[in-house]
């Protein structure tokens, strides 16, 4: 047997079904939003786990050797601290997609049956069991780089210039290389011997090692031992590549993801704030509506405490249902986003995960937050005297006494119904503000994300355009791309400019990309300190270097300093002559004369960058074909990649990221809109008698519609207006964080068009969400409305 007081609390839930539904929905969205907090941790945990399952290497050594006998490999495996070691051959060549040549990375696997490091597994089909078979990375198809399926054949160009075909037996990958597909090229997994056959190599060029103790000191000792063994056992060891080291707990893409995590927490925090405001407003209205009942309960002996506890019980029941619904929405929502993001950043899909922290937070916010949010309204209600409560008729007296009320009455240019709508907003200014705030947060978040995305896209596009080249040509055969090759390319119709270029990697306070360029190139540098290198320095291969802005900042290196960089052939001293302000390589690269790189790397030639006279895709395709024909006719075997493909892929990738960012803002928008529906429904319930009076004195449906619509639109417009400065400041804050992450300055863009789009979207969504409460208004019969209690 339960008391009448408790029964009242329970029946309260079904008494106003629409209100209960909206309250539950509000709490549910708030709780679901909390699950956004779970995403970064879950992605990190899942991908870290995935690196363990895939046996991702701790370090990768790249020795250039003519031969690496099996017995030496065996000896390397016995080195102290080596948990697992595999050798493989990596190569970069061309594949044919239709008639178009496409750069491709080949990853060799010594024995598909017995893999220990960077284990390639398949999600469809089977691993290669014979020569002439390969596995295509599943990211190739997802990123649109190569859509081949099991059963297809792939044509690969050998370093002798001829083409050989392979059968696709499976789709799969391994976390280390899958993560590269989106940013680099398609990845294909072949038997190691097949890679060597295509590339013309005689020995593996990569040693992948997992260390037992992954502390820097232990890994350093292990590397030293591996070097010694190789130097002793392999007579023709030419040089060492710079080490690739993965610290424990990191995964490919984890660094980029960390930058993104900031946005996640910002979104989640705003969603939480918006939801708490909304819960507060809702509970306030729920209690406010029952002022008369509170008076009656007091009149029949209800104490403040008893009445307060009764409403608290109702609030907790609403909170409980909302929490359950929110968790039910939050888990699939966070897992869906998580899966998408792990593919974006980690290049791999992950399974569903729950989060204990998110679960605890959900309960805290859903139950505790609701109880807390109801607190002030309950306190206020409990202070109402019996007389005040019983005299309450839902109509607010005292309108027109404040300055705001008076100011609003001056809007005489509006129709009467619009005037009434507007005045009703100031009549309940607190509630109007509380409704506008979540909308403002939603608009602000979307504007901030739009600004950050636009700024990022602009910076990316700028840095891509800076490179200036339309085609990259590289040597795929025995004969390097010498000065004659460059001259031949320049003679091809449709080519405006061609020049040598080489990429290199060095150690200078971390691994850094070096671009070897001539003094004048297609790269449009922006020297913000010091100078660029001269023709004479470029010709002489002078040891001078221009640092990317972030490199200079991070390493605290001034212009004029002489730095020592670790190349694969040993340390090299260079004089820093300038700092470049462009964002290529995230401003963390270095620029030096082409001949300087050839000199310290011991190479004889590099790649060629080509700028065509016309940038359109057809012209670039035509020029690339002509370059291939011309150079091949002159004894060069080349590969090429077309920049527009990468640019388009990048643009598609960026658009996707922007969509995700916008998508993550949706819970906040949802909260804003639910707030609006909630507020409008409360308004209608509050003013039911007023609606009855209006209908009694001749108000038509369109009059009522116009009045309530005006109210909704004005609140939404106020939210939009408030959202603009919020969006600007939030965007600035995010950019500030990103600038610190990237150690580079961005030109913050806050264009007008997203503001206008936000206005249109806000208004349209408002009209949409108002449909339901408006239906209630126009269907209300005047007699029922007048009798409404």
């Amino acid at each position: 047997m339960i008391s009448a007081h408790t029964r009242r609390s329970i029946r309260e839930l079904t008494r106003r079904k629409a209100r209960s539904f909206l309250t539950v929905l509000t709490i549910a969205v708030a709780v679901a939003g909390i699950w956004l907090f779970a995403i970064p941790g879950n992605i990190d945990a899942s991908l870290t786990e995935r690196t363990l399952v895939d046996g991702m290497h701790t370090i990768r050594l790249a020795p250039a050797v003519a031969d690496l006998p099996e017995q030496v490999v065996g000896e390397l495996r016995t080195t102290a601290n080596v948990a697992a070691l595999d050798v493989r051959t990596l190569g970069r060549t061309q594949m044919r997609i239709g008639d178009r040549p496409q750069g491709v990375v080949l990853v060799g696997v010594s024995d598909f049956e017995n893999q220990a490091v960077n284990i390639v597994s398949v999600v469809d089909g089977a691993l290669p069991t014979a020569a002439g078979q390969l596995v295509t990375d599943f990211e190739n198809a997802r990123t649109g780089r190569y859509n081949g399926l099991v059963g297809d054949t792939v044509a690969l160009q050998t370093n002798f210039g001829n083409w050989v075909t392979f059968d696709v037996t499976g789709q799969g990958g391994t976390v280390r290389y899958s993560s590269e597909v989106a940013e680099d090229a398609p990845f294909l997994y072949l038997r190691d011997a097949d890679v060597q056959r295509v590339m013309g190599y005689s020995a593996p060029n990569s040693i992948d090692v997992i260390a037992t103790d992954q502390s820097p000191a232990a890994v350093g000792a292990m590397v030293a031992q591996l070097r010694t063994t190789l130097a002793t056992e392999v007579s023709d060891l030419a040089y060492w590549d710079v080490l690739e080291v993965w610290e424990e707990g990191t995964w490919p893409g984890s660094e980029d993801f960390e930058n993104f995590v900031v946005l996640f927490y910002v979104i989640a925090a705003i969603a939480l704030l918006a939801a708490l405001i909304l819960i507060y407003t809702t509970m306030n209205t729920v209690v406010r509506e029952q002022t008369r009942e509170i008076g009656m309960m007091k009149a029949v002996g209800g104490t403040r405490r008893r009445i307060g506890l009764g409403y608290l019980r109702t609030a907790l029941m609403l909170g409980g249902i909302g929490t359950l619904v929110g968790i039910a929405i939050g888990i699939p929502l966070s897992n869906g986003l998580m899966s998408f993001m792990s593919e974006e950043f980690g290049g791999t899909s992950i399974g569903w995960r729950l989060s204990g922290i998110a679960m605890v937070l959900s309960l805290l916010v859903g139950l505790g937050g609701t109880a807390l949010a109801a607190g002030p309204a309950l306190r206020r209600a409990s202070r109402i005297t019996v007389r005040e409560a019983i005299e309450d008729h839902g109509l607010v007296a005292g309108y027109g006494l404040s300055r705001l009320d008076r100011a609003v009455t001056r809007a005489s240019f509006l129709s009467r119904t619009h005037q009434m709508g507007l005045r009703n907003l100031t009549r309940r200014a607190g509630r109007s503000l509380a409704t506008a705030l979540p909308i403002a947060l939603a608009v602000g978040t979307m504007l901030a994300f739009a600004a950050v995305s636009i700024t990022a896209l602009d910076e990316t596009e700028k840095s891509q355009n800076l490179e200036g080249g339309d085609i990259i040509v590289w040597n795929n055969g025995a004969r390097g791309l010498d000065d004659r090759a460059v001259a031949l390319i320049e003679s091809v119709p449709g080519v405006e400019m061609a020049h040598h270029m080489i990429y290199s990697t060095v150690e200078f306070d971390g691994e850094r990309n070096v671009w070897g360029l001539p003094a004048v190139s297609t790269y449009e540098h922006d020297v913000i300190d010091g100078r660029w290198f001269t023709e004479a320095e470029a010709e002489a291969g002078a040891r001078v270097v221009v640092l990317g802005e972030a490199t200079a900042t991070l390493t605290d290196t001034p212009v004029g300093a002489v730095i020592t960089v670790e190349t694969r052939r040993g340390p090299v001293e260079m004089e820093v002559i300038g700092v470049d302000g462009q964002l290529v390589n995230d401003a963390q690269g270095m620029f030096t004369p082409y001949r300087t790189v050839l000199d310290y790397e011991g190479w004889t030639s590099g790649n060629t960058w080509v700028r065509t006279t016309e940038p359109d895709e057809a012209a670039v395709d035509a020029a690339a074909s002509s370059i291939h024909r011309t150079l091949e006719a002159n004894g060069y075997t080349i590969g090429s990649s077309l920049r527009y493909i990468g640019r388009n892929e990048n643009a598609a990738e960026n658009r996707l990221v922007v969509t995700v960012i916008m998508g993550m803002g949706l819970p906040i928008v949802a909260i804003g809109m639910i707030g609006l529906v909630n507020s409008m429904t409360s308004n209608i319930l509050d003013r039911t008698r007023e609606i009855g009076i209006l209908r009694s004195i001749g108000a038509r449906r369109r009059d009522l519609r116009s009045m309530f619509r005006a109210e909704g639109l004005v609140v939404a417009a106020a939210g939009w207006l408030l959202g603009i400065p919020i969006g600007y400041l939030l965007g600035r804050l995010i950019m500030w964080v990103l600038e610190h992450e990237f150690h580079a300055a961005f030109t913050y863009l806050f264009p007008v068009w997203p503001i206008l789009v936000a206005l249109i979207v806000t208004m349209l969504m408002t009209l949409l969400v108002l449909r339901l409460p408006l239906r209630k208004v126009i269907r209300m019969r005047p007699g029922d409305a007048l009798r409404y209690e």
């Binding site: 109509l395 006494l401 009467r416 009703n424 009694s696 038509r700 019969r781």
Partner: protein, 247 residues
């Protein structure tokens, strides 16, 4: 004999009329309120005829069905059965929207608790029915509403909000609002119920003047004195007209 106005021209007093009979005809009207599984018969076969220009008082104990009769006359509530013809229109046939338009043009309603809109000034409250009826231009509506407010003695308080008016003044605004569209019929549900006796008497003077201009008025009252001032007193008891329903 009731004369139906065939054409209403903006601010044009000249009307072509056709003799039709009583302005209000209720025949065998029943009204049952249903709340969940509970049924409450509020009217049990009411017959009531009111001639144009009559001043009729409805009296009876609380819960007898007086207010329900007013609601049925104004179309605010629909009868469960029976015939309701007011100002020549069969209300049973009209949709909610048509009823709202009809009320705005032909019926003025005065409520017990004034029920002014707190966000509108006295003038704006009085203009509201004219706005809803789209009568004339905004300036013309303002002039007409102003005239009505002057008629009820509130010419100096046009810009005041309800919160700035006394109870009597608020009820006068409510009457001005009810009269704004020059309705054929004014119904008032205990219009003086919340007023002191002096203010109530003043209020009733206003009704008297309006009625002397030809407007039919039906009002509910508990006050014997005010009921006595009517041309006819109709007594309602247990949802039936116990006395004076038919002229």
């Amino acid at each position: 004999m009731y004369h139906l106005r065939m054409e209403r021209v903006r601010d044009a007093p000249v009307e072509e009329t056709v003799p039709l009979g009583p302005v209000i005809q209720l025949r065998g009207v029943e009204k049952v309120y249903r709340t969940g599984r509970v049924e409450y018969p509020a009217l049990r076969g009411v017959d009531l005829l009111v001639e144009p220009g009559e001043l009729v008082a409805l009296v009876g104990p609380s819960g007898s069905g007086k207010s329900t009769i007013l609601n049925v006359i104004t179309g605010i509530d629909r009868p469960t059965s029976g015939e309701v013809v007011v100002t020549g229109r069969d209300l049973v046939d009209l949709s909610e929207e048509e009823l709202a338009i009809w009320r705005g043009e032909q019926v003025g309603v005065v409520f017990q608790f004034f029920q002014l809109l707190p966000t509108l000034t006295a003038l704006e409250n009085a203009m509201l029915p004219l706005d809803f009826a789209r009568t004339g231009t905004v300036a013309e509506r303002s002039v007409r509403a102003q005239r009505r407010l002057e008629q009820v003695g509130l010419g100096t308080k046009l810009g005041n909000f309800p919160a700035e008016l006394s109870g009597g003044e608020q009820q006068r605004v409510a009457i001005a609002r009810a009269l704004a569209c020059d309705p054929e019929v004014v119904v008032a549900d205990e219009p003086t119920g919340n007023l002191d006796s002096d203010t109530a008497a003043e209020m009733f003077d206003v009704f008297g003047k309006v009625n002397s201009d030809g407007t039919t008025i039906v009002y509910v009252t508990h006050d014997r004195g005010l009921a006595a001032a009517a041309h006819r007193v109709v007594e309602i008891r247990d949802g039936r007209v116990s006395d004076g329903g038919l002229t």
